[in-house]
């Protein structure tokens, strides 16, 4: 009688363990992408500041802003709207760049936020929140300065 009871408890524990383990596994496998806009920003700075920081020392900036699992730092960048364009997914891309800066900050919006980017005026100052994908650098092969790239962007009020 006692042995049966122990067996029953053990079986229940094993099943519960399997269910929890399977559930965690399933959750991990189907884990949604991070919601950049809902997350707290790691740094708030101007476009010129981050461009300068990257041009002054790319490797130090990369280890500060890029994460090794790709969920890199979330930034709020303030700058002057220089150009608004579309990417191949129909998302708006806003370039923040001040006169005299060698590179700017390219901010790609999402299907949900792109309509807000479309309403921006060239020459106005705006604050944009997004995740950093790469930094600014002068590329010898391109013969160009590459911009800082942010994605999953939205306009924010500071």
């Amino acid at each position: 009688m006692k042995r049966k009871k122990i067996l029953r408890i053990a079986a229940t524990l094993v099943i519960a363990g399997l269910l929890i383990g399977g559930g965690v596994g399933l959750y991990m496998f189907n884990m949604p992408q991070r919601d950049v806009q809902a997350a707290k920003a790691d740094y708030t700075l101007t476009g010129s500041q981050i461009v300068e920081e990257y041009l002054a020392g790319r490797e130090a900036a990369n280890s500060k802003y890029l994460s090794n699992d790709g969920d890199s730092k979330i930034l709020i960048v303030t700058g002057v709207v220089n150009k608004i364009s579309d990417d191949f997914s129909g998302q708006k891309v806003v370039l923040l760049k001040s006169d005299g800066d060698k590179a700017g900050v390219s901010a790609t919006f999402t299907p949900e936020t792109s309509s807000k980017a479309a309403d921006l005026q060239i020459g106005t100052t705006v604050s944009i929140k997004g995740v950093i994908r790469s930094g600014a650098t002068y590329d010898n092969d391109l013969g160009l300065y590459e911009n800082v790239v942010l994605e999953k962007c939205d306009i924010v009020t500071l």
Partner: protein, 188 residues
């Protein structure tokens, strides 16, 4: 009179600058799309990157692509984490991939005339600091001021030191992935 000479000198300088800018022949694209597709019986994996910058020099035929690796977007967060991680592409240490090459049949492409041309590119691809020679075909479409390039090729992951011997990645990621490139250029 002196003023006039100065003015005409300045004017000449500006005209020369404008002309030389025109004949520099460089096309620049920041509207790009690079997709890769991996197919195994276990699962299909796809990722899209819209963040690359590319240039084509119409005079020399030189082509450059600079690809921010963290710009690859996957459907599932876990795939993206694996892709960026140290065992796979280690994107924190190697944030950019690069293609540099030359169009070998430049004489067959008329950038001044609307049309669709087949281009052959020979060059080098660098991923994760491993450089390999590449030779690919692409389509160049000229339409007014706009130039569009399309290309599709296979990339063997082991060529760039990306190998999996055990676990899920070894069964779920194909040994060769299909890469498709689309980019739209305007004169610099």
């Amino acid at each position: 009179m002196k003023k006039l000479v100065f003015l005409s000198a300045v004017l000449t300088m500006f005209t020369t600058m404008a002309v030389s800018a025109q004949v520099s022949g460089k096309l620049v694209s920041s509207k790009t799309q690079i997709k890769f597709f991996s197919s195994t019986p276990a699962e299909d994996i796809q990722a899209v990157n819209l963040t690359s910058v590319s240039t084509i020099n119409r005079e020399t035929g030189e082509v450059v692509f600079s690809v921010p690796m963290q710009g690859f977007e996957f459907e599932k967060a876990l795939m993206q984490k694996h892709f960026n991680g140290e065992d796979f592409l280690n994107t924190q240490t190697y944030p950019k991939a690069k293609l540099t090459g030359k169009i070998t049949n430049l004489d067959k492409i008329d950038f001044t005339k609307d049309g669709t041309y087949t281009a052959t590119l020979e060059g080098e691809m660098t991923i994760k600091e491993t450089t390999k020679a590449v030779k690919e075909n692409g389509t160049v479409t000229v339409k007014g001021d706009l130039v569009e390039v399309q290309s599709k090729f296979n990339l063997t992951l082991a060529d760039f030191g990306i190998t999996f011997v055990k676990g899920k990645p070894s069964t779920n990621i194909a040994k060769a992935v299909e890469v498709s490139v689309l980019s739209q250029y305007l004169a610099e």
